[in-house]
């Protein structure tokens, strides 16, 4: 489903965030990317979601080589990948419901269908009662769950999450990770990053460790990390 082959990402400043990274994620798999700050986790996830382009090598998602896609095709592909941002990227002048509806508005989904799906997504993350609330009135954990609701509202086959438990207390972190596990259990491919290795035991799945832009260790395809 996701295939990185010899991927290098160099930013215009000259900083090389990833170097010759190769790995595969099968459909329905859960892969956890770990590493310290600056290891290249966020860059790897952005490349997988088509938010960034590789400088060298190829990123193939759902059989499409992202390097060969134009800007418009890449944007359309992003609609089918749910992305949970580290800094949430919520619109603070819109209600929780309107934030979740944004991907559906972009895709031109009918109003009644939009309303139904928004409520279902909010219900899934436990925020249905806060549909009309502004994000500023939500706690950090609730904002993260709102971001997850926006990521799943288009029913993506791939869910990518960048440090979804960063800055959350232990209880909120467990609840968020449990959400990702529930998506994984229904067949969604989940690729998430964390710098908190203690969460690996809760998540299971496969583990990809990055250090300074290089893959330090990777459990082979289909093989779970021991708990």
């Amino acid at each position: 489903m996701i295939q990185f082959s010899g991927v290098t990402k160099r930013y215009p400043t000259g900083y090389e965030a990833l170097r010759d990274v190769s790995f595969e994620v099968a459909a329905g798999e859960l892969v956890v990317v770990t590493g310290h700050s600056g290891a290249g986790k966020s860059t790897l996830l952005k490349l997988a979601a088509g938010i960034e382009r590789a400088t060298r090598g190829s990123v193939v998602v759902n059989g499409q080589n992202l390097s060969s896609l134009g800007e418009t095709a890449l944007a359309v592909l992003r609609r089918h990948i749910g992305f949970v941002f580290q800094d949430h990227k919520l619109l603070f002048d819109r209600s929780a419901g309107e934030n979740v509806a944004l991907p559906l508005r972009i895709a031109g989904t009918a109003s009644d269908e939009t309303g139904r799906r928004v409520r279902a997504a909010l219900d899934k993350v436990g925020l249905l009662a806060r549909e009309k609330a502004l994000p500023i009135t939500l706690s950090g954990g609730e904002q993260q769950r709102l971001c997850i609701a926006r990521a799943i509202v288009n029913r993506p086959a791939i869910l990518v999450a960048d440090e979804p438990t960063g800055n959350l207390d232990a209880e909120s972190s467990r609840a968020i990770l449990e959400l990702f596990l529930s998506f994984h259990r229904v067949g969604v491919t989940v690729l998430l990053s964390t710098h908190d290795v203690s969460s690996l035991s809760q998540l299971g799945g496969r583990h990809l460790a990055l250090r300074a832009g290089l893959v330090e260790s990777a459990a082979p395809l289909g093989e779970a990390v021991p708990g």
Partner: protein
């Protein structure tokens, strides 16, 4: 309804909401553009009115030959023969004095006054189409024809009409140049207003792009915004021009009441009205397109 139509409906709704959210600012923006558009619209109406008036005048090279009041029909025949024999005369039309009086009654407001006259004050006359419009040659023709018996006056009065025609054509060209400059001003005004909107909504644009909005998706509501602003400005400009033309006609009516000839500023025809409204909408759309595209490139170039 398919997704494409829904995205356009959403964009239109978004643009209308944005315009309604700031009614004062939207009204000022529309009025500023409308004033810029009113100037060429009014100019066009004036040029077309003058052009229509000049079109009714005879601008072909011709000379009018008037006989003395006591000239008889036989005298007129002799003069006609002499005129036809002249090498510069292309065509000769005789206007008997009775016919000239009837024409004067029909084309002016003097019918009542003329009816009270004891005798016809107009002489027999000839209108001669000349082969030349050269002033020197026409002067020679005039001198020669003044020597003919019973000829009182020879005039070549078409020149002023021809000059007026040239002036209206020149005014039309000046107007076209001015309209181009004002169209650029409209582009600039709309572009600037839309740029402010884009900068205000930068965060929303960036989030939308991250979750799958194409450049077209981002541009769409702004294009509707620009087009709606342009359309409203075009309609306002036409309304302003209509009011000004009505006022000018009222003033002209008073001014020309003492003349036999009545001049009126005619309003633009329906196809031109439609072209003005759609043209300003298109200018608004284009201004928005240029502005949003430039801002998106700027956003992409920034970290």
């Amino acid at each position: 309804m398919n997704a494409w139509i829904r995205t356009h409906r959403h964009a239109l709704g978004d643009a209308l909401r944005r315009l309604a959210a700031q009614p004062g600012a939207s009204l000022v923006a529309v009025l500023v553009i409308a004033i810029a558009v009113t100037i060429p619209v009014l100019g066009l109406a004036l040029v077309r009115s003058v052009d229509a008036a000049v079109g009714g005048l005879d601008t072909d090279p011709h000379v009018n030959v008037f006989l003395t009041l006591d000239a008889s029909d036989d005298d007129a025949k002799r003069v006609e023969a002499a005129l036809r024999a002249h090498p510069q005369a292309a065509a000769v039309r005789f206007v008997p004095r009775a016919k000239a009086l009837e024409e004067l009654k029909a084309t002016t407001h003097l019918a009542e006054l003329l009816a009270n006259l004891e005798r016809n004050p107009l002489p027999h006359a000839f209108t001669v189409r000349t082969r030349t419009a050269d002033p020197a040659q026409l002067a020679a023709v005039r001198t020669a024809w003044l020597q003919l018996p019973k000829v009182e006056q020879v005039s070549a009065e078409f020149e002023w009409a021809e000059k007026l025609g040239r002036w209206t054509r020149f005014a039309g060209r000046v107007l076209a140049g001015g309209a181009i400059l004002l169209a650029l001003a409209v582009l600039f005004i709309v572009g600037h207003l839309i740029r402010l909107q884009v900068v205000t909504r930068r965060e929303e644009i960036e989030v939308s792009q991250l979750i799958g909005a194409t450049a077209g998706d981002v541009r769409r509501p702004f294009l509707y915004h620009g087009a709606l602003q342009g359309l409203a400005a075009g309609a306002s400009a036409l309304a302003l021009a209509t009011g000004l033309i009505a006022w000018m006609n009222a003033e002209l009516s008073v001014l020309t009441s003492s003349y036999a000839y009545e001049f009126k500023v005619v309003f633009l025809d329906s196809s031109t009205v439609l072209a003005v409204a759609l043209g300003t909408a298109l200018l608004g759309w284009l201004g928005a397109w240029i502005s949003v595209s430039r801002e998106l490139r700027r956003f992409a170039g920034q970290p």
